[in-house]
Symmetry: C2
């Protein structure tokens, strides 16, 4: 049967992971995982597809066009590939709320799907790390979640000069807007404008803000006026904002958080940025995004406090704060800054460097011992490889062993004995009995 050609390509916006790609994925997944664990989060996960209704509960019908959705043949229910984790997390928390610890600290990392046009930094299938702290409404919880994010960025070599954590406070923004006479129903409209800032042509953002009664100077603060939070614990401040924007509400909301960010040792990473509001409607307090410092690429991560969401999914009133980070933008930023480990380092981090490469001097009785010895070494827990080539040239085989970065080579030189060569030291020991090779290798430091 002749198959259509497209069957022989990965679907648009998805990835085939050959060994080096899989090692790169593992590097990112393990970096996410270990930062989570260091900060006391427990791993969870949910189904890769959910009832479609789970997503419309939170985001309305508009989200359906962004989803890969399907019906079970002959079935009555529609499903969708998960585009985000929060609804699953909310359902899982709501189901067991009574028996879960307070706070509950959960993370997960896995595949997600969006039926959007693939572009730089955005694929149809991607990985996302989710970190959530539920049942604690304190600024300490906000800071702990941000610190988990910073810790991961730091572990992969990024500094506060490479990336910035941009923080704002949704309820402070709402209070300030109300104090200037902007009624609550118009806030959502303004937030949408703020969230689209980066995508608007020059001038359009200021024009848009003018319609909400903002002066050009105030529009400039929203557009460029990032306010560094001072480390003197008096909370956020800074001349450019103070002069044109009343910071009272922001100071009240952000000062306790600033204290906690100082305690967490990450205040240097933080910018207070009035324009960061996050697109999603459900945030209630602190919101943040992680951006490359020079404004390159889309956001690396984003999140915030969502104190009403668990109720929406049938659970008890539960304060909650969390964030998500995708792998695609992160990998672009790491590559751009030369921080993606080399292929050899990735393979080693993924545990793929062979412990031992077994070869023989070529005599039939030595050759016959290669596979049994390899089997014995693997049974002893070692990553053991051997050559599949016909060549009996020991020099060539040793080069093959060194090319795949094996730590040692075992050269079987008779039916009963072998030599061990350590590639790190260049030392060679033996001949020793085949039965002692495993012990000699596992005893090595």
């Amino acid at each position: 049967m002749a198959a259509p050609l497209h069957a022989f390509q990965a679907p648009k916006g998805t990835r085939d992971l050959y060994p080096i790609d899989a090692a790169r994925r593992r590097f990112i997944m393990e970096s996410w995982r270990s930062a989570s664990i260091r900060h006391g989060f427990d791993e969870i996960d949910g189904p890769i597809f959910e009832h479609l209704d789970l997503y419309t509960v939170k985001s309305g019908e508009a989200i359906v066009s962004e989803l890969f959705s399907f019906m079970r043949e002959g079935g009555e229910k529609a499903y969708a590939l998960r585009p985000e984790f929060t609804p699953t997390l909310a359902r899982m928390y709501a189901t067991k709320a009574n028996s879960l610890p307070r706070p509950t600290k959960w993370f997960m990392a896995g595949p997600f799907f969006r039926a959007e046009r693939p572009q730089r930094g955005r694929l149809r299938e991607f990985l996302q790390w989710n970190v959530d702290l539920l049942g604690d409404d304190s600024p300490g919880a906000d800071a702990e979640v941000i610190a988990t994010c910073v810790s991961m960025l730091q572990a992969v070599g990024l500094t506060a000069n490479d990336v910035r954590i941009k923080v704002n406070h949704r309820s402070a923004l709402a209070q300030w807007l109300e104090s200037r006479g902007l009624p609550a129903p118009r806030h959502a409209e303004l937030m949408t404008l703020l969230d689209q800032k980066a995508k608007l042509p020059t001038g359009a953002f200021a024009t848009g803000l003018a319609q909400f009664g903002f002066s050009p100077e105030q529009a400039e603060v929203f557009e460029k006026g990032i306010i560094r939070i001072t480390v003197d614990e008096r909370g956020p401040g800074g001349a450019p904002a103070d002069s044109v924007i009343d910071m009272t509400f922001f100071s009240q909301a952000v000062t306790p958080l600033a204290h906690q960010l100082v305690a967490a040792g990450i205040i240097d990473w933080i910018d207070f940025d009035l324009s960061i509001v996050r697109g999603l409607a459900y945030y209630t307090g602190m919101v943040f995004e992680v951006h490359e410092a020079g404004g390159k690429e889309r956001a690396i991560a984003g999140g915030g406090r969502y104190d009403h969401l668990i109720e929406l999914f049938g659970g008890p009133p539960t304060p909650a704060v969390g964030f998500g980070m995708g792998d695609v933008v992160l990998a672009l930023v790491l590559a751009d800054k030369g921080l993606m480990p080399s292929d050899a380092a990735l393979m080693e981090k993924a545990g793929l460097r062979p412990d031992v490469f077994v070869l023989s001097t070529g005599e039939p009785e030595a050759d016959a011992q290669v596979r049994p010895l390899v089997a014995a070494l693997r049974a002893a827990g070692l990553h053991a490889r051997h050559s599949y080539k016909a060549t009996k040239n020991v020099g060539k085989l040793l080069k093959d062993a060194s090319d795949i970065r094996a730590k040692t080579a075992v050269i079987i030189d008779s039916a009963t004995t072998a030599l061990i060569k350590d590639f790190a030291t260049g030392e060679q020991v033996g001949p020793l009995p085949l039965s002692e090779v495993g012990k000699a290798l596992t005893a090595a430091p």
Copy 2:
């Protein structure tokens, strides 16, 4: 908005993984991964959904009803959630065949999907481990793949008394059937009968075999007559089969494999079983299934040699052998035999046991140091936790630390000092300066 109740449950046949479930998943995934790596396989992966056509190429239109398939809105192409990995692997190998090593040894472990009725041992979303060796047509390659499977089973505590590797040879069976006058076109029909053996009512199997000209004695060999492969390297044998079935073709095909299974040290795990043919049409040589020794549960794993499949996906002629193992039956077998690690052991294996629990003696100046110290310890790479409770009762907090199996507790007793308690030894050191706590903890053995 009131949401339909089903939105608040995981879809039928899928799983919510709370922390202990995620730790159990990790235990299985890591067991798969480390057996693969010990045996020199490299990790790969592909998209979680593929073009629907990729599956019909191999399995025909009949497979469509078993798939979760969907269209992109307004799109022209149909997609399906992957039900198995082999077509993706074949596509990936075919695409890069010229630049890949010979042999190419690949493994992957991840989620797969079947739109079938969930039942014991079968879910709609499940995990599967795939191990494939391409470019080597030798019995050594067959044995290496089987050995990788056995090594994993052994690593989780299963023995040759718990599970059996049932091996047959498709081309030997075909040769024998032809020698008895059964034409090739009827072979597929017979294989379907053999593959359904376990599901047929008593008597129906023998009746079915009679239609192919088999005597009741021969039918009995197919039904019960497992033939132990003798370890004396003369290949498979055994009275029950010898007497009623001409073993010539099987001996020729299986003897070289038996030699390799002896060399791999796993001959004790192997039964030669004429009835194992595997349902899939594409196997060309050795086939095997892993079953619980008492016949409980579905097959734990299955695979074989498929020397023509890479060509079907547009690649060069490439011999190949591999197998797949799901997590659902494996977990049932492990639980049944008491081999699933305890919750505490699973959490420890998953790296979730805290290194340190930080508390204070309750004075405000000591309390103020809890979060900064926790942050510093996490920055030093430690898994550090602290209490979120209001209690200042040191005894209660130490009990909380011990309940979550923290290795140590740090008790901050002033603005500048702390004590360290080691739960394993019961020893307590200090007071020492807060700045030295991290060093003291990371220096510990």
